[in-house]
Amino acid sequence: MSAENHLFLYTLHLADNALVLGHRNSEWTGHGPILEQDIAISNIALDLIGQARNLYQYAAELKGGGSTEDSLAYLRDARAFKNCLLVEQLNGDWGCTIARQFFFSTYQYYLYKHLVKSVDTRLAAIAEKSIKEVAYHLRWSSEWIVRLGDGTAESKTRMQKAVDLLWPYMGELTTAADYEIALADSGVTVNPDFLKIMFNEKVNSVLREATLNIPPDNWMQSGGKQGIHSEQLGYLLAEMQFLQRAYPGAEW
């Protein structure tokens, strides 16, 4: 595989992570547990979709051939999506949504901290622009983990359940795909394996503060980065892409 293709796949992977999680979070709009948190999770959704747009625009330029941010977001099937499995998981209850956001934001924060130093100036600029948002997502979700974990008996039980449910999707975040290995060699990104220690330390310290149990590192799910997804992604794309598929080029 050529270096350009690695960069295209990696940019898509970053964009798909942001879009799919942004879309999942947007499903809360109008359904948040209280008005203020409805607005908070919708803001995070907007931040992520904004990041996705910047990344898709870059990916479309890399691909060429009339490809656009919209064609990449709306006209690819599940197998062409390179997001990690974590972000496509169902919202579940508020605890599940918080756990998913916390795991992802922790990973994204350490990744973007490296990406700002990328030899690829475009990715570096996008990371620079996004990292302030990500730092806030991390802070916001960490506080909810602690609040619910160290809260009532009910909230603790549900928070623990959410952490246990999503734990098997953690491993994929710091397991390198072939395009990540190639690009780490050329200084475009960092091998996510290198982030593992910082990532685990942060996650464990917040879980400890929340008086939650840290699940054992057993078997981990994988496949998303290669386009092999859980069934949840198909339903998400069906809803997200319906309009563009049914009315190609529709605008308003």
Binding site: P33, I34, L35, E36, Q37, I39, A40, N43, W140, E143, R147
Partner: protein, 96 residues
């Protein structure tokens, strides 16, 4: 979801720029001060309205009663000498 006990109400004050006062912008619900600040950030500063946030639990705000407005405020009406309106200001002075 909060049938049993609603989160308390907080009043939010935002300083829109350095050098200006904090101004009351509205209220919101939150479990504690920390969450109130976070919520205020999301609800009231999405369009870069602020550089600083204050929150105070609404129950701690003590207000004057509208019934007392006559005795509180109207006596000032006929004391024009309390207003600095009898000075000639040089043209160079702006924003007075």
């Amino acid at each position: 979801m909060m049938e049993k006990q609603d989160w308390p109400l907080w009043e939010v004050f935002i300083r829109s720029r350095q050098g200006l006062d904090h101004k009351h912008v509205g209220s919101l619900h939150a479990a504690d001060a920390q969450m109130a600040i976070e919520n205020a950030r999301d609800v009231y500063t999405r369009r870069m309205e602020g550089v600083s946030i204050w929150v105070a639990e609404s129950k701690n705000i003590h207000a004057s009663s509208p019934d007392e407005s006559e005795s509180l405020f109207e006596p000032a009406n006929d004391k024009v000498y309390r207003h600095p309106t009898f000075y000639d200001l040089p043209d160079q002075l702006k924003h007075m």
